[in-house]
């Protein structure tokens, strides 16, 4: 007769959030808040900023749950994309940008080992790291630098010493390779 919160789908919980159910929001936070916080921490490299990002993502979900369209995919990828965008915006604030450009100037162009150090792949889960390392370096590096290293493709091209158009097409082919690699390593969607 009644659907329990713990057994409800994300989509139906989002509907409940639209009806102002704080309990539904809490369940969604319990399911996805850790991942949202983890991604924000990786990108911002600042626990306090990461908490701000996580808080904002879920208060925005409370305010505007209708922005999530379940027909376009799962809730977690959508929440993570919001967290990533907000984290990147924070990191790319003017002062951070200045510091990073000085840092990049010293590094550019970088060796493969240095890419690894910029994005701290060692901190990834084992199976995720194995999947990432299945990608050839020319595909792996731009994805890691852009996604975890908050670099624009132009910054990435400069750092890697390759043309901008090449970076873009490698990111696209790299994402397809990454999906296959995650499948091989059994990393669940």
């Amino acid at each position: 007769m009644y659907e329990s919160i713990s057994q409800s789908s994300d989509a139906s919980l989002v509907i409940a959030v639209g009806r102002r159910s704080m309990a539904a929001l809490e369940e969604l936070f319990r399911r996805h808040g850790g991942a949202v916080g983890a991604l924000a921490r990786r990108v911002t490299r600042d626990p306090h900023r990461a908490e701000e990002v996580c808080q904002t993502v879920f208060t925005d979900l409370w305010r505007s749950p209708e922005r999530y369209d379940p027909e376009r995919g799962g809730l977690r990828p959508w929440l993570l994309s919001l967290a990533h965008r907000r984290s990147v915006d924070l990191v790319r604030s003017e002062s951070a940008r200045r510091r990073r450009q000085e840092h990049d100037a010293a590094l550019s162009p970088v060796a493969v080992d240095e890419v690894e150090s910029v994005v701290h792949t060692a901190a990834l889960a084992d199976e995720v790291r194995r999947a990432v390392h299945r990608l050839p370096a020319p595909e792996r590096e731009p994805i890691l630098l852009a996604y975890f290293g908050d670099r624009s493709y132009r910054d990435t091209a400069q750092m890697l010493g390759v043309p901008e158009g090449t970076v873009k097409s490698r990111i696209r082919s790299g994402l397809a390779s990454l999906r296959r690699a995650l499948d091989v390593e059994g990393v669940q969607p």
Binding site: M1, Y2, E3, S4, I5, S6, S8, L13, A16, R19, R20, S21, M22, A24, L25, E26, E27, F29, R30, H32, G33, G34, A35, G37, A38, R42, E51, E52, C54, Q55, F58, T59, W62, R63, R72, G74, R76, P77, L80, S81, H84, R85, L124, V128, V132, I143, A146, Y147, D150, S152, Y153, R154, K168, S169, I171, R172, L175, R179, L182, P189
Partner: protein, 269 residues
């Protein structure tokens, strides 16, 4: 566009998924995405792939506390009848200070660690139980909310409750620890119950009463029942419910009762 597909900028969509475009390009791609289902699907596939890079980990109770404070501080998000006056219940343990949640605005400096630590404990314990918890969503989905909203009352609700009492349906009288009866719950055999806020003090804005079933290993939410100004609220009462309690919680309700905020309890007879 650098890709060979003239119609769909797939390379840029991939970079966009990583938030790696320059601002002007980002705006252009967003304009394209708004009207292109093919590129939306391409983007969604990339986002699903990227989501797999971030593993699960436990959510932070500290952040949850800040989320609830932020939502409560906005006020009006969960409509409540404007209160006349917040009345601390004399027999209840000391309640949190009025307006506590409004002391810190979103984005204002973080509260002290002692404050967070105090709020963290119940949540952590509850989180450990949450996987097995059976918390009914039906009431949270709006029954109590809609009827309790702004103190409006469906005209026949009190009458329905009276009829159920007259018909001999079980009634639980909820009393404070010192024995004062403050509320009743009528339990019908249809799964619908009626919460009668006979003598509950009015809560401050941003707070709500929440009804719980206490018969199992873990409390089950039977729904929020207004802030004390709503005389009768319809609630979902599962079969077999006898022991119940009412607690005062942040607006929207809690996933489990806050231990020091249980106002009254009782059994259906």
């Amino acid at each position: 566009m650098s890709n060979t597909e003239q119609q769909h900028p797939f390379d840029e969509i991939a970079v966009y998924a990583l938030d790696g475009l320059e601002p002007d390009e980002q705006a252009a791609i967003e304009a394209h995405l708004a009207g292109c289902l093919v590129c939306q699907a391409e983007l969604d596939a990339h986002l699903a792939t990227l989501a797999r890079l971030t593993p699960d980990e436990p959510a932070s109770p500290t952040v949850w506390a800040r989320i609830t404070e932020s939502i409560a501080a906005e006020g009006g998000e969960v409509p409540e009848r404007p209160l006349l006056e917040a009345v601390p219940y004399p027999g209840a343990p000391p309640t949190e200070p009025t307006g506590r949640a409004r002391r810190r605005r979103p984005g204002a400096p973080e509260a002290g660690p002692r404050h967070l630590a105090r709020r963290r404990r119940p949540w952590e314990r509850i989180a450990g139980l949450a996987a097995a918890a059976v918390v009914l969503v039906a009431a949270a989905l709006g029954i109590g909310y809609v009827l309790g909203d702004r103190g409006e009352q469906q005209p026949d609700l009190a009458q329905q409750a009276d009829e159920a009492i007259d018909a001999g349906d079980p009634v639980a009288t909820l009393a404070t620890p010192d024995g004062a009866a403050v509320a009743r719950v009528v339990v019908t055999d249809t799964g619908t119950g009626y919460f009668l806020a006979d003598d509950l003090p009015t809560l401050e804005q941003g707070r709500t009463y929440q009804l719980w079933q206490l018969d199992g290993a873990q409390p089950i939410s039977l729904g929020t029942v207004g802030n004390g100004t709503t005389a009768v609220t319809s609630v979902a009462v599962p079969e077999g419910t006898t022991t119940m309690a009412v607690s005062a919680e942040a607006a929207g309700g809690a996933i489990a009762p806050t231990p020091d905020q249980i106002i009254a309890s009782g059994e259906a007879t």
